[in-house]
Structures are given as C-alpha cells and as structure tokens.
C-alpha cells in the first residue's frame, strides 16, 4: 500500500464508522475539537484501524498522543512499514 492509499483507507474507515464527512477530513483536522470525538471514542478508533489494516494495536502511549488525523496517518503508516519490514 502506498502512503496515499493508507491515508484514504484511514479516512474512509473512520468516516463510515463514526459518521463523519470525508470532505471535512484533512491531515490538520483535530480529532477531538474538529471531529468531535472524545476519549470514549479512542477504543472504537483502535478497533476501526485494527479492522481496516488487519493488525493489532498495542502502542497505548502512541495512541494517547494522537491529536490530528495526520497523527493517525503517520501512526498507521509507521506501523504498516514496520510490519512490512518484518519488525
């Protein structure tokens, strides 16, 4: 998957499961203020990403530091590359 494909899959998965408008979703969009998610949604965000990319997320610290959609993109791309490298 290219970075762009990953970004698109992140956005479309979140849009569907959280009923968000794709048009509102840019890398700078903050997930808590702009998209209106809160700490309760974190677990569901993890579930959506795990389902979309078929990996398990165990990096609690990294997840807690996520503020923008761009942070999520970077996290997923990093995770995907790690797995591809067999790490």
């Amino acid at each position: 998957m290219t970075d762009q494909e990953i970004i698109e899959l992140v956005n479309s998965s979140l849009a569907e499961e959280f009923e968000l408008e794709l048009a509102d979703m840019t890398a700078e969009t903050t997930i808590y203020d702009d998209l209106g998610l809160d700490s309760l949604d974190t677990v569901d965000m993890v579930i959506v990403l795990e389902g979309a990319f078929s990996f398990k997320i165990r990096e609690e610290e990294a997840i807690r530091e996520i503020r923008t959609l761009g942070d999520i993109h970077a996290f997923v791309i990093g995770k995907k590359r790690q797995l591809e490298a067999g790490l």
Partner: protein
C-alpha cells in the same frame, strides 16, 4: 414525579448501583423484568429445600476485605451471616484419568505449602505465580482501596499476556499449569483467552478468604431488599424495560416498561446485557462502530445445571466444592462438547431452614448454547416433549458423572430440577444463556460505564468482572463515575 436515576436490571450490580445512588441522595427506581428481584442470585425451593443457582461461594468477605466493606457500605452486612469454607481445602480438584487430586487451601501461605508438597521442584514457579496474582490485586483501585487510581491501566489489563502464556512461561509442569487453570470455570473464559490480570483479579480474593452465606443467595437478596426499602428505592418488578425516551437535546427523559408504564427520569444506569440496551434506544444515539462493537461482544459459555436432593448430607461437600476434570494436562477440556468430557463443578446445596444443613447438591457443566438452539423460539413451560426429554437425559448424565465421582452416595441422589442454556437465558436475561454474561477476554473491548449519551451509564459484570464480587464492584465502579471515584473510595475506606 421524576426520578434522578432509573436503574434497569435488578441483579447484584443493579441493586448495588441503586443503593449507592440512593445513599448519595438521589431518588432512584429499580426495574426488574422478573416478578421478584435477582432471580438468579436468589435461587429457588423444591420439596422444602433451598437451591442456589447464581451464588455459591466468594472471596473478599473476610473481615476488612473488599466485598465485606462494600456490603457494609450498602447496609447489607447486618442481614447476612458468612460461613467460612474449609481452610485446608475449599476446592477439591480431581482428575478422572490420572486420579490426581489436590485440595486448594485458603491463604497464600497454605496454598504455597500445599502446591510445593504436590509439585516438588516447582517452588520457584509457584512463588512467582502467587506473587504475580498478589501484584495485580494490589494495583486495582476498587479491589485495593489504597491503590492509585489510574484508568490507563485498564487497557493494559485487556491486552496483557494470557493466563496460559504466563503459566507456560513459569513452568513446564503440565499438571501444575492445568491445576492453576481449572478455576477458569469460575469466570467462564478459557486460559488462552483470559488475560492473566483478569484471572488474578478474580482469583486473588479467593486465595485470601473463602466464604458462603448462611441460607445462600436468598438471604443475601433479602438483605438487599431490606436496605433498598430503607433507602427509599422504588421497585418495579414483573415488567421488562422496553425503550428509553430521549429529549430533543438527546438526553434520556423516561424509561417505558413493557406494561406501558413510563418512568420519568433524569438519568439511567443499564445493568443488563449490553446487547439488550441496543434494543431500547434509537440507532442514532450511538455511533455505528460502537453499536457494532456491542453487537459483536462474545459471551461466556452457557451450562447445564443439575439440582439434586440426597438422602443424607454429602460429607465430601461440607465446606468444600468438588471440581472434576477429565485430564488436567489437556486445555481442550474447557471446550468439550459432552457432559462426560467437560469439566464439572459440584457444590452442596438444598439448604434446610431448620438446622442450616445442606441436604443436596448442585452440579454445573459448561456447554455451548448451540445444544438447545433448536428450541430457542419456544417459551418457558411449553418447549415441548422433545426438549423435556433432552433436558432429562442431560440431567441423568450429570447425575451419573457425580455418582461416579462420589461413589459413597450412589443411589441416594434424586434430581429435582435442571437448567439448560435456555433456562439461564430466561432467568439471567442474557441473549444466549451465558453463565457469566459477556466474556472478559484479550482483544475484546467491553463497554465502559460511561456512554456517548451523557446521562446513560452501563453497569454489570460486562464492565468489571463476573460473580457476586464482580457484579457488586461494577456497581461501585459505575457510581464512582457518576458521584466521583474519590468520594466513593473514601466512604468505602471509612467502613474499614
């Protein structure tokens, strides 16, 4: 009149939540589908003897221990009398194939000693295991009132190593590993699926003290009823909760019951199977991903349960339970499909009111709910002759297995009642008759007390842990979210 809180579900967690909120100064209504509160915890009588279904024994009721403090706080303690189990062996494990036996004693010191005697050379693994259990219990905020409150640890618990992985890392002795896994019958999740932390949080309190309650679950429910009455909680029994009504601002404003009655309220605690709550609210109140998560929640196993009267009290079950396993070394037994191969739990029951002795027993055998699925659409009392024949045969098989394990009472037992997955579904109000409701397993995200709807909360074993202690603690956890954890934990500390 408008209630501050309507609590849906009159089991141990719902009764607990209702009491805490009422003690906190709220006007509370408690709604239970059955004609009386807590049918599973209460049990029932046959031929003048009382049989327990949902409650047999627990940890945490020793002086100053967690569950005892909770019951003090709730005003329950004056109404009950605890009965200590046998200190030298509260659970007797017996293996059909190898004839290996082990009496699990009460107290970390005694457990260590007994395990070391049965498994020479395994002292290191035994010490490490017991220390790991203790460490988990010390760190949990309600289990240990002095622990730091750190919600972040909850995710770690879910995702930590499994019980099986931890035991395999500690020892190569399969019998020892198998023995320490057998208690998973008390929470209904197989060792490969349950996190070590969840196992430890449930078993730790049993390692410190083991108690029953004189007169069984019925006396416990009756003490709850007295306290609910004293605290002015209004009970609505005999009609199920049907739907929640919302204000234009998306807040709950009433609960409508099956009988058409509407209870106006400012907030709601749902102490029911999470999937049942979905049927009571419009789709729009939760996000699709959350609804999907709740719908996908896996339940614990269901079970067959036998209730039998014996000609005389069963000596082997005085102050102790019996766990039967085909082979301790074989993890597959936890998912066995037959009564002969499945593990079995046997406890004294059939309480005689006149002298407090038990003149019977109960046996529980985990079984998947698929065994009764073809009758799922039938109604209790009219499931048909083929169902009755199926249930009768299952009870006879359980009876024979118990007689094989306790030959001294062969021919003295009479089956007076039986339960199947459908029975558990009816009385526990779970969709598939799960013995312990929703599973707590690694990778499954159970609901938290808070939901997206500001004035709607979850409670019950799905949010904390199963068993009396799990259910009661879930009530405290949920009400802690509502009234403030510091306040509730401080008040609990004052009960010490």
């Amino acid at each position: 009149m408008t209630y501050d809180y309507v609590v849906i579900g009159g089991g141990a967690s719902g009764m607990t939540a209702a009491l805490i909120l009422a003690k906190g100064g709220c006007r509370v209504a408690l709604v239970e589908k059955s004609p009386r509160l807590a049918p599973v915890l209460r049990g029932f009588s046959r031929q003048g003897l009382h049989f327990d279904t949902g409650f047999h024994y627990t940890g945490g009721l020793g002086e100053g221990e967690t569950l005892a403090l909770c019951l003090d706080y709730l005003g329950i303690s004056p109404g009950i009398e605890t009965v200590a189990y046998r200190q030298d062996g509260f659970d007797l494990f017996r293996c059909d194939r190898s004839k290996f036996e082990f009496a699990f004693p009460v107290g970390y010191g005694r457990i260590r000693q007994s395990l070391c005697e049965s498994f020479p050379g395994e002292e290191g693994a035994i010490d490490a295991y017991l220390e790991k259990v203790r460490t988990v219990c010390r760190a949990l905020p309600y289990l240990s009132l002095d622990a730091d409150w750190d919600l972040a640890s909850s995710m770690q618990n879910l995702h930590g190593a499994s019980l099986q992985d931890v035991l395999e890392g500690l020892t190569d002795n399969r019998t020892l590993r198998g023995l320490l896994m057998q208690h998973c019958l008390l929470y209904g999740v197989v060792p490969a699926e349950v996190s070590f932390a969840q196992h430890a949080a449930i078993m730790g309190p049993y390692y410190e003290s083991v108690s029953g309650i004189r007169g069984g679950g019925r006396n416990l429910v009756s003490a709850f009823e007295t306290s609910l009455n004293q605290h002015g909680v209004d009970l609505y029994c005999g009609s199920a909760a049907r739907s929640l009504e919302f204000s234009a601002a998306g807040q709950i404003r009433a609960l409508v019951l099956d009988n058409g009655q509407s209870l106006s309220c400012k907030a709601c605690v749902a102490s029911i199977h999470p999937q049942h709550l979905l049927e009571m609210v419009p789709d729009s109140c939760f996000r699709p991903v959350y609804r999907k998560r709740l719908r996908a929640l896996e339940d614990t196993s269901s079970a067959f349960m036998l209730y039998a009267i014996s000609d005389a009290p069963v000596e082997a079950l005085k102050g102790a339970n019996l766990f039967l396993a085909q082979a301790l070394e074989d993890d597959a037994v936890f998912e066995a499909q037959s009564i002969k191969q499945s593990p079995m739990y046997i406890a004294a029951s059939g309480y005689r009111a006149e002298d407090g002795a038990h003149q019977g027993l109960i046996g529980i055998c985990p079984t998947p709910d698929s065994v009764t699925r073809k009758w799922a659409a039938t109604k209790r009392g009219s499931r048909g002759e083929d169902y009755e024949a199926f249930k009768g045969e299952a009870m006879q098989r359980m009876l024979r297995r118990i007689e094989d394990a306790l030959p001294e009472i062969r021919g003295q037992l009479t089956c007076v009642e039986g339960a199947t997955p459908l029975t558990f579904g009816d009385y526990g109000n779970t969709p598939r008759g799960a013995l312990y409701g929703v599973k707590h397993r690694i990778g499954q995200y159970n609901p938290m007390p808070r939901t997206r709807v500001d004035n709607l909360f979850f409670s019950g074993q799905a949010v904390a842990a199963p068993g009396l202690m799990g259910a009661v603690l879930s009530g405290f956890l949920t009400c802690g979210h509502i009234l403030g954890h510091d306040r509730i934990r401080e008040e609990l500390k004052r009960c010490r």
